[in-house]
């Protein structure tokens, strides 16, 4: 591997990792606040990419412009799901929650196959193969845009959580549900908001993927699995951990793809996942073993 290919692989890995980071941030926020592993997470990404597809096909909207639309629509759907389904099972046996979310995920895939058809679809935009050459490296324009946008969104979400009143309220709920409630925070509203943000950013990740991507209704589960890996790697519930973990897994996967071939690159992430689960289940940023 020449230095050129080495750096090119790192760049490609970071581009992949940017999307992963965004998806994982959504998953980790939901886990951090509600201690729920959202087994239907990848399906929200799938809905995001189909939002971009339909907006493009029906109204000719540029996929990137649909990002706010997807954030609101799919995030709203996530909030409704939290209110109508997840919230009512919060105190039941954990198996009930998992079965519920697996059911929701199955239902969403089924509905997508029924209404959008199981055939692969894609969007063709004028800039889909555009390339920027700099420093001897090649940057695909759509992937560069996706990377920069996801970094921007992740950064602003971080600032939102750190410095605004609502953000602080969300973090307070994640630290202690009871204490936050005693301080006058509307815990249920924060739960809904967290689900809306968590699923909304995932849908945005979907729209960012949209140009030049063959979308199928079952694509979400691959992202779910990757996001589980990242979230465990970066400590469940840890925002920065999910961000860093996303970039790490993106790079690792791209290198694995280079050496092992694209279809088995997921083995590398699974290997890391199993090692992390076995030897440091608290993740990179965890203080104590959970």
């Amino acid at each position: 591997m020449t230095p050129e290919i080495f750096f090119q692989t790192i760049v490609n890995g970071l581009f992949t990792g940017g999307i992963y980071a965004l998806v994982s941030i959504g998953l980790t926020m939901i886990y951090g606040v509600m201690v729920i592993v959202n087994f239907a997470h990848g399906e929200f990404l799938m809905l995001g990419i189909y939002t971009a597809f339909w907006a493009f096909t029906l109204f000719g909207m540029d996929p990137y412009l649909t990002a706010p639309l997807a954030m609101v629509l799919i995030g709203g759907l996530g909030a409704l799901m939290q209110r109508g389904l997840v919230h009512r099972v919060l105190d039941a046996h954990p198996l009930n929650m998992i079965v519920l979310l697996v059911g929701v995920s199955t239902l969403m895939i089924g509905l997508a196959q029924f209404f959008f058809s199981a055939e692969p679809r894609s969007i063709h935009v004028s800039y889909e193969t555009a390339v920027l050459s700099a420093l001897g490296l090649r940057f695909s324009i759509p992937r560069l845009v996706a990377f920069v946008s996801s970094m921007f969104l992740a950064g602003s979400l971080y600032l939102f959580l750190q410095y605004t009143r609502v953000g602080k309220a969300i973090r307070a709920v994640s630290q202690s549900r009871e204490a936050a409630q005693l301080m006058g925070i509307n815990v249920n509203a924060m739960y809904m908001l967290t689900f809306a943000i968590g699923t909304g950013v995932t849908a945005v990740a979907g729209t960012l993927l949209a140009p030049n991507y063959r979308m199928i209704p079952t694509m979400g589960s691959a992202y779910s699995v990757i996001a589980f890996v990242i979230v465990v790697l970066g400590t469940m519930g840890n925002f920065v951990g999910a961000f860093v973990g996303g970039l790490i897994i993106g790079v690792v996967e791209t290198f694995a793809g280079f050496y092992l071939g694209g279809d088995v690159k997921i083995i590398a992430s699974m290997f890391i996942f199993i090692l992390i689960l076995l030897f440091k289940p608290s993740g990179l940023f965890g203080r104590k073993r959970t």
Binding site: P94, G103, I109
Partner: protein, 358 residues
């Protein structure tokens, strides 16, 4: 008979003994909720067994065969997740391993599937031992265990896709030429049905015996509160491993038969979470996870409804069965977390009051 016999007063026993034959039979069949569930389970089995006398339609027979297999597989998951409360989500791993073992033995080494099924069960049980050992050694609980099994599913799928010995991405077929009993290949669907029902009856009996035994009580104690069970002296690692191994072995045998019946296996089809919902989870959940009757009742509701909806609604559109199974899971968790068996249990309690006063 009721397990509470020893606690009954002599008066009651005398009353029972002097009862008419009819009363004795009723008491034997419906004396307790457990025996009632067992009775209903066998009634459903008999119903399926007489099915071929009423129709020869391969379509309907096929649905009944799959219902019976799903019921049997549902029982195997019920023991792990329903009785012991372990979040073994990707149970289909064991079905896949059993199926692959059977077909590799048949196609590569010409071993009869009758032996292949059992070897498949052993292979799946060994996988169960490994999974249980890893889980316990590294203390993976709750969500972590669920995620671990899903990661294992994805890893195994990728491995099998690349493993040419088991057919790689192309998968493996049962050669349908020269049907024979030894090769478990039949022209008609009825023999398949009776093999499936044999498995189901064995499954029902195993589940009942476990439920009634001390082991079963320990399983339930672990489900309700693992720490409390451990504090009271239950060897929780041993019983958790035992439940996974029993469930895995049963699923492995079921997987071998399932593969012989559908005659085809490939990694993307079988290491598949949607398939996992269909084969493993939907039946016990809608029927009532943790009950004896649940998996059987659930499978008999599930598969026929999914097929009917698919038959009526969709001409060439996919996704219908996923919609049906998905909405089954959601509605059952939301509106009847104890499933159909839970509803029946309530009814039984209402009806049984006057009976005991007789």
């Amino acid at each position: 008979m009721s397990s509470k016999k020893s606690t009954q007063t002599t008066q009651e026993i005398a009353k029972q003994a002097s009862g008419t034959l009819y009363q004795k039979i009723v008491h034997f069949l419906f004396g307790s909720w457990e025996s009632t569930q067992l009775t209903f389970s066998f009634l459903l089995v008999i119903l399926m067994a007489v099915f071929p006398f009423f129709t020869k339609s391969p379509y309907w027979l096929g649905i009944v065969v799959l219902s019976a297999v799903y019921a049997y597989i549902g029982i195997s998951w019920n023991i792990v997740s329903g009785l012991t409360g372990q979040l073994l989500i990707a149970h289909i791993i064991f079905i896949a391993l059993g199926g692959y073992t059977t077909i590799v033995l048949l196609n590569t080494y010409s071993v009869s599937p009758w032996i292949g099924l059992l070897v498949g069960g052993v292979v799946a049980a060994l996988a169960g031992v490994v999974i249980a050992f890893i889980t316990l050694r590294y203390g993976l609980k709750m969500d972590y265990f669920a995620l671990f099994t899903i990661a294992l599913l994805v890893a195994l799928r990728t491995l099998f896709l690349k493993w040419d010995y088991v057919g790689g991405a192309v998968g493996m077929w049962v050669r349908l030429k020269n049907p024979s009993f030894i090769k478990m290949v039949f022209n008609d669907k009825a023999p398949y049905l009776y093999i499936a029902l044999l498995l189901l009856v064995i499954g029902i009996i195993i589940q009942y015996l476990i439920y009634r035994s001390k082991t079963g009580k320990f399983f339930i104690a672990i489900r309700e509160d693992e720490d409390a069970a451990a504090a009271l002296g239950v060897n929780t690692p041993w019983y958790k491993t035992l439940s996974v191994v029993i469930g895995a072995a049963m699923a492995g045998i079921g997987g071998g038969f399932y593969m012989m019946y559908v005659t085809f296996i490939d990694p993307t089809g079988v290491f598949n979470l949607g398939m996992n919902v269909e084969i493993v989870m939907a039946g016990p959940i809608i029927g009532g996870l943790g009950s004896l009757l649940g998996p059987i009742l659930g499978a008999l509701v599930n598969k026929p409804i999914a097929e009917l909806v698919r038959g009526y609604l969709s001409e060439g559109t996919s996704g219908i069965s996923l919609i049906v199974y998905g909405s089954f899971l959601v509605t059952s968790i939301m509106f009847m977390p104890r499933g159909l068996a839970g509803l029946l249990h309530n009814l039984y309690q209402k009806l049984s009051k006057p009976v005991s006063e007789r």
